[in-house]
């Protein structure tokens, strides 16, 4: 019996046409069927081990050593910088921060809805961003979902789903699949994570996410495994670190974090940090290690994102390939 009969919706969320969704994920995987150490759980048997890879949501590319925190935090609140499979928006009232909303939900789910039940997508958008679009307003030139549509990229502190070009389920699947290829340069295995990313063309070496995923997957393959993505396939918010968050009234700021706004309790895809009623202050009056919260990036430092990979013992030939970029 295969490992899976069908791919689950992201976060085990409700979804019309689950068969269509599963087929869509399977199509993503099938692109890489020729890779000997990458398998499709729909046509593979065995007892896989699950491996979780975690990383901070804050974009590592903005975290150069010694760069001032304030500078990097401010920069990071622009969606185009948020490329760690997690994006966030800051809702403000005047100069005060009211809430910060994080999402790891990839656009593919929403594109699927647009294809099968556009009105349901419109309703979901209304729920998430407070305004109901005409489904056609969400379409790009190819008729599919434009992840950067105005409703998802509004600047009023609302967000529907991920929008940055590399923040897609397809990109994550591609990364896992292509990381199953061992790499060598000058006869020597490439194992350092950043070098591996550059050598294998596996995303951006300065991100948190790509090198970690690549190293973990490549290490499993070099250890004799074949690898695939975990089910439900997706990126999830793993944890919020609240140490050093000081509130004006001494309340525990950990309580201000509300996970699983989308996704089941084990697969948070959307979470909000906001001061609940009963406390007479704003998020921006809370301090993080002594500094007032002035941007969402300060909280993104505290958010952990994860992806799961599956591994099975494999004897398939997996000879090392040269770098795809000779200059790497």
């Amino acid at each position: 019996m295969p490992l899976l009969q069908q791919f689950s919706p992201p976060g085990n969320a409700e979804l019309p046409d689950p068969e269509g969704w599963s087929a869509r994920v399977a199509d993503e995987l099938e692109q890489f069927a020729s890779l000997p150490r990458f398998f499709n759980p729909l046509n593979t048997e065995g007892s896989p081990a699950e491996h979780v890879v975690k990383w901070p949501a804050f974009p590592a590319e903005l975290r150069q050593p010694g760069v001032s925190d304030q500078e990097r935090w401010e920069l990071s609140d622009s969606r185009e910088h948020q490329d760690e499979y997690c994006e966030w928006v800051v809702e403000r009232s005047g100069d005060e921060i009211v809430s910060v909303t994080f999402t790891t939900e990839t656009p593919e789910y929403f594109d699927h809805l647009l294809g099968v039940e556009p009105d349901r997508l419109a309703a979901l958008y209304e729920e998430l961003v407070g305004e109901r679009p005409n489904p056609d307003q969400l379409r790009g030139s190819d008729g599919g979902l434009d992840a950067t549509n105005d409703f998802n990229r509004a600047t009023n502190g609302t967000i529907a789903h991920l929008s940055e070009t590399s923040n897609t389920l397809g990109a994550a699947v591609r990364l896992v699949a292509e990381a199953t290829v061992p790499r060598a340069r000058d006869g020597k295995a490439v194992v350092e994570k950043k070098a591996l990313v550059r050598c294998g063309g596996l995303g951006n070496a300065l991100r948190n996410s790509d090198p970690q995923i690549a190293e973990a997957v490549n290490g499993l393959v070099r250890g004799g495994a074949a690898v695939s993505v975990g089910d439900p396939a997706g990126l999830y918010i793993d944890e919020f670190l609240s140490g050093g968050l000081r509130t004006p009234d001494g309340a525990d700021a950990a309580e201000f974090w509300t996970p699983a706004q989308r996704g089941d309790s084990g697969h948070t895809m959307r979470a909000v940090f906001a001061v609940p009623s009963g406390h007479d202050y704003a998020v921006s009056q809370i301090t993080s290690n002594g500094r007032p919260i002035r941007s969402g990036g300060q909280l993104a430092d505290r958010v952990r994102v994860r992806v799961a990979a599956l591994s099975l013992p494999s004897e398939a030939e997996a000879s090392a390939e040269p770098c795809v970029n000779e200059g790497a």
């Binding site: 990383w55 901070p56 590592a60 975290r63 150069q64 050593p65 010694g66 760069v67 001032s68 925190d69 304030q70 500078e71 350092e192 994570k193 950043k194 070098a195 550059r198 070496a205 300065l206 948190n208 090198p211 970690q212 190293e215 670190l241 609240s242 140490g243 050093g244 968050l245 000081r246 509130t247 001494g250 525990d252 700021a253 950990a254 290690n289 002594g290 500094r291 430092d301 505290r302 952990r304 200059g327 790497a328």
Partner: protein
């Protein structure tokens, strides 16, 4: 209690202690206690208000291993209490070497934190072996504030109370025992910034092979469940630094605002009581082709000056061409050595490791401003004296001679900043042209609107540095300056335990400093 005469007042003194009682809390605060003495239950209860003491030692429970210590705390605290959850981290100076070395040479240690709350963890343990007899433990004193420092001694793992954070701040205990390295009583994570050299992190994973085959640490939960240094920084280090700095300065206000030793605080602004380590994010053996971005804190006190209370603009990126960086590796004979087994050619895993201004000093400065002791203008004017040398500036440190003997704060304000400035200004004329006093006078003279003039000063300097970084000669100079700072920092207690903590070179030892035009000069 009077100061006592002891030949060895360093951390090393604990290793030779004898006559300790295994079933009591032994007090040995170096500089204060002439010898270890077992505290009575009443004495211990009066002195120790941290959860480690209250949940174990004061109940007559004396764990014999690090793992047992945290297990006993968890058991006493009960399920669901933050003290029942642990976060473990891993580091070792030999953990990221390119070539294999013996597990012993890697010097692996676990850092485990428990009791996390809004102010950070209540208990932090450091040890090489979860099931061994040696443990260093710090625990927040919920009654008196500050961390209580403990360690075990000998095969029986006798518990010694070695002092509280406040012992770091005054004679006869400052600089002694654990406060040799914890110079202001704060938690230490010397590689505090990305890429956290020596630490397991998302930048550098630590495989089980850092331990010998069959070593039980390979399968210990602290190893299996270890988290990255990025989490240690966020959840343990920064909250702990903030917690002690805030408590320390709140106490000054709570005790009436009279400060008998303001020099102790100013030294954390103008001096270099301790350092952190920082490096580029570039892996030295496989650098990015588009250059190596050097840490700005090598060039100026970027954390203290940029943004925040002082509010200066960020400097430009300090990027050196990859080929220029790589040429220095061979030319200057980079190698990493512990003086024993480790002796590997090349730079550390991450390129350009250098000491930088300590974050605990930045926290102290921030708190001094918060309570009104120091004004942003004074802080900026002091830090901008000899600003191209953010650490080891003898010029800037010489201003300590002018610090008034006392200070007072009332209602969130103090005349201390003006008093200190006036004293330096009064000395400036006699000090002569080019003196640190005159340089301070120039800085101070720009007044409250210091941001723009100081930004311009830094912009001119940074522009010169950026231009010189494009040349081999320029970067060679900065490599020599980095070597000079490394060797000056190496004897510091925080770095002296393991020579492999920073790379070495064949550059002749000499004190060097940076000029404002971006050139490097050997000190005369």
């Amino acid at each position: 209690m009077n100061a006592v005469e002891q030949v060895d007042q360093s951390c090393m003194v604990f290793g030779g202690l004898e006559g300790l009682q295994a079933d009591a809390v032994n007090r040995f605060v170096v500089g204060e206690d002439p010898a270890p003495r077992a505290l009575t239950t009443e004495e211990a209860s009066q002195e120790l208000g941290d959860p480690f003491a209250t949940l174990t030692l004061l109940r007559g429970v004396f764990p014999r291993t690090p793992a047992d210590a945290l297990a006993k705390v968890a058991e006493a605290a009960g399920p669901g209490d933050p003290l029942s959850a642990q976060r473990s981290f891993l580091l070792g100076e030999g953990s990221q070497l390119a070539d294999p070395v013996s597990p012993a040479a890697r010097n692996m240690r676990f850092l485990v934190a428990t009791g996390s709350g809004p102010e950070g963890p209540d208990i932090i343990v450091s040890t090489d072996d979860p099931d061994g007899s040696f443990v260093e433990l710090m625990a927040w004193d919920r009654v008196r504030g500050g961390f209580n420092y403990y360690r075990t001694v000998g095969p029986e793992a006798a518990w010694v109370f070695a002092g509280n954070s406040r012992h770091a701040l005054s004679d006869p205990t400052q600089g002694k025992g654990p406060f040799e390295s914890h110079t202001s009583g704060a938690f230490l994570m010397k590689e505090l910034e990305i890429p956290w050299l020596h630490w397991h992190s998302f930048e550098a994973q630590t495989p089980p092979t850092v331990f010998a085959d069959g070593d039980p640490r390979q399968t210990h939960p602290w190893f299996v469940n270890k988290e990255g240094a990025e989490t240690c920084e966020t959840e343990v280090a920064l909250p702990s630094l903030d917690r002690w700095a805030r408590a320390r300065f709140d106490r000054i206000v709570a005790e009436g605002g009279e400060l008998a030793d303001p020099e102790r605080i100013v030294a954390q602004i103008v001096g270099t009581p301790t350092v952190n380590l920082i490096s580029s994010r570039t892996e030295s053996r496989d650098p990015e082709p588009d250059g190596v971005v050097l840490p700005p804190s090598f060039f100026l006190s970027s954390f203290a000056l940029v943004g925040g209370q002082i509010g200066l603009a960020a400097p430009p990126e300090f990027r050196v061409p990859t080929a220029v960086y790589q040429a220095t590796i061979g030319q200057f004979g980079y190698f990493v050595s512990d003086g024993e087994e480790i002796n590997q050619p090349g730079d550390a895993k991450f390129a350009f490791v250098v000491p930088e201004r300590a974050r605990e000093d930045d926290f102290a400065l921030r708190e001094a401003i918060r309570i009104g002791l120091i004004t942003p203008r004074l802080a900026a004017s002091l830090l901008m004296v000899d600003f191209p040398n953010p650490i080891f500036s003898d010029r800037r440190e010489s201003l300590l001679a002018h610090v008034p003997e006392s200070a007072a704060i009332a209602d969130g304000t103090s005349s201390f900043s003006q008093d200190l400035a006036d004293t330096i200004l009064a000395a400036a004329e006699a000090a002569g042209a080019g003196s640190p006093e005159q340089e301070f006078a120039e800085r101070w003279s720009v007044g409250e609107a210091f941001v723009e003039p100081f930004n311009q000063l830094i912009a001119g300097y940074a522009g010169a540095v950026v231009a010189r970084l494009q040349t081999q000669e320029g970067f060679d100079d900065y490599t020599r300056l980095a070597a000079s700072r490394r060797e000056r920092a190496r004897p510091m207690p925080i770095l002296s335990e393991n020579p492999a903590v920073m790379p070495k070179t064949n550059i002749p030892e000499a004190d060097r400093h940076m000029e404002q035009d971006g050139t490097v000069v050997e000190n005369g």
